[in-house]
Amino acid sequence: MAEELVFIPGRWDITYNYAAGKVSSKFFAELRDNKRLMGIKCSRCGRVMMPPRGFCERCFAPAGEWVEVGPEGTIQAFTITVEKFEGNPDPPFAVAYVQLDGADTAMLNYVRGLDFSDLNRAAESLRVGTRVRVVYKEQRAGEVTDFEYELV
């Protein structure tokens, strides 16, 4: 007789309320209320960090002044997710790291308005160096998905 193996069902379901901190909270308020994307400058080297954070890892110095960036930028990397993964949006969807004009680093977001019927062609339209612009959503909740990118 084959030995029976027992399986015990389980699930991790834990609630969090992540405090975003002062720096990110200001970024989200500017995004929601003024439709502006604000980067933050390193107080030492002056590089403009997007997304903004409280310090520059390179200089190990605190962040300094706020600077508006965009509204256009350049794709530095992208992918098109075609497979359905638990917890992910329904595919297909494209995301890209975009270096917004005036920023020294690239920020991730969705790229909207693409035709995915031919994947290689869709990928070609997103190739590194492609120009995109920021599009703000009508209803903004003060979160990173309040904006998206679209091809210029």
């Binding site: 975003a20 997304p51 990397a77 638990e86 992910n88 590194v128």
Partner: protein, 393 residues
């Protein structure tokens, strides 16, 4: 000055999707026993234990080092859990090395296990490594974040999807010679190209399986190792470099800042090569076990490790340069494309490199393998480890 250290025993268990006949602690125990037997030592000989454990959500037991203290033979001994994501096994092996090299411990067991077969949601777990303010909402996981690297490499060097497919074909063909490997197959480039797209440009067969299994190594001081009268693998160099969480910081063209090139791995390799006295890695290293769960990872790694010029890993692949009978065989075990038990994928690279220089790699043995290198990567391609092992001091 650090003491000389040798790997004197290895233990692996079969890598497969689900190891339902053993609990997580039993997998740890199996690998530890096999490694001790291989080292011809008993638990009494072990002075300290390093546990190689990656994200616990992959198997759903929090603070898992608690559970496995007895299974790892650590009762009454110092224990240290190491976790650097995918690089965990590489970091754990280095922690074992540091224990012995420091002179504080003579013989150390490094052991770990992975049991991601217990969840269908491995990519959800790997999505939760993203921070919630700026990146969590975008459906990233191990596959999509590696696609960014592929996109950069293709952009810079003209690398094609067909060239990446060759890495998958060679790896799983090599795995046919490895009894521990999970996916052992004679795929063709066409098979890889026809496999379904997951995150462009990475298709199913560009990606690793979800594997469960366990691995252990025993490390000993020079005095102990020389007294054993058997082949050992001398650790000749170790290097490790970490880099920023922020992927977008590595995508802006600043110096030492390129996601597609793995400058950090190159730096870790330079440290390890300097200790080992290696100046021409492409000629002085005879076999490499590279942590490459995705095809692009092996390409970027070989270029960062100095095995060839930037952009040349794929053209050389087409000439058989990296085949088991080629100039510099890579991943004769099949590597992570054949078996990816995340917590010990890096440790398995070290064990396989050690087996090669001990001459104990069986069907996958590379002729004349005197010096081998093992690497690991973890996080959002953030943690890099390199270890050089050799059959002589």
């Amino acid at each position: 000055m650090p003491r000389n250290v040798a790997i004197v025993g290895t233990g692996q268990t079969k890598y497969t999707t689900a190891r339902n006949e053993e609990t997580y602690e039993e997998l740890i125990h199996q690998a530890a026993r096999i490694a001790l037997e291989d080292a011809e030592l008993t638990l009494k000989d072990i002075d300290a234990v390093v546990i190689s454990q990656a994200p616990e959500a992959l198997f759903g037991i929090d603070h898992p080092e608690r559970w496995v203290v007895g299974a790892a033979g650590a009762i009454g001994k110092p224990v240290m859990r190491v976790h650097t994501g995918g690089a965990t096994g590489g970091s754990a092996a280095q922690a074992g090395f540091f224990h012995v090299a420091s002179g504080l411990f003579d013989t150390v067991l490094v052991v770990g296990a992975e049991k991601q077969g217990d969840t269908p949601d491995a990519q959800l777990v790997l999505n939760r490594i993203m921070e919630p303010r700026y990146e969590l909402p975008f459906g990233l996981n191990a596959i999509s974040m590696t696609s960014f690297q592929a996109v950069r490499h293709m952009h810079k060097y003209g690398t094609t999807q067909e060239q990446l497919a060759l890495v998958a074909v060679r790896s799983r063909r090599n795995a046919l010679n490895n009894p521990y490997a999970h996916i052992r197959a004679n795929h063709t480039v066409a098979d890889v190209m026809k496999s379904r797209m997951l995150c462009w440009p990475l298709k199913l067969l560009d990606c690793p399986p979800r594997s469960s299994g366990s691995c252990a190594i025993v490390m000993a001081s020079e005095e102990r190792a020389k007294g054993m009268g058997k082949p050992v693998a001398w650790v000749r160099g170790v290097g490790a470099t970490s880099t920023t969480y922020y992927m977008g910081d590595k995508l802006s063209g600043l110096p030492f800042n390129e996601h597609g090139d793995w400058d950090e791995l190159a730096l870790a390799a330079q440290h390890a090569y300097k200790q080992a006295g290696i100046t021409k890695p492409g000629d002085e290293i005879h076999v490499a076990e590279i942590y490459a769960p995705f095809t692009i990872c092996e390409v970027a790694a070989k270029e960062a490790l100095g095995f060839c010029e930037k952009g040349q890993a794929c053209p050389l692949e087409e000439k058989g340069w990296w085949d088991i009978d080629g100039h510099l065989p890579t991943n004769p075990s099949g590597g992570a494309l054949a078996s990816n038990p995340i917590a010990v994928t890096g440790l398995a690279r070290v064990a396989e490199a050690a087996l090669q220089v001990m001459g104990k790699a069986g069907q996958r043995q590379v002729d004349g393998a005197g010096t081998a290198v093992a690497t690991a990567i973890g996080g959002t391609l953030q943690f890099h480890t390199v270890m050089v092992v050799s059959n002589r001091l």
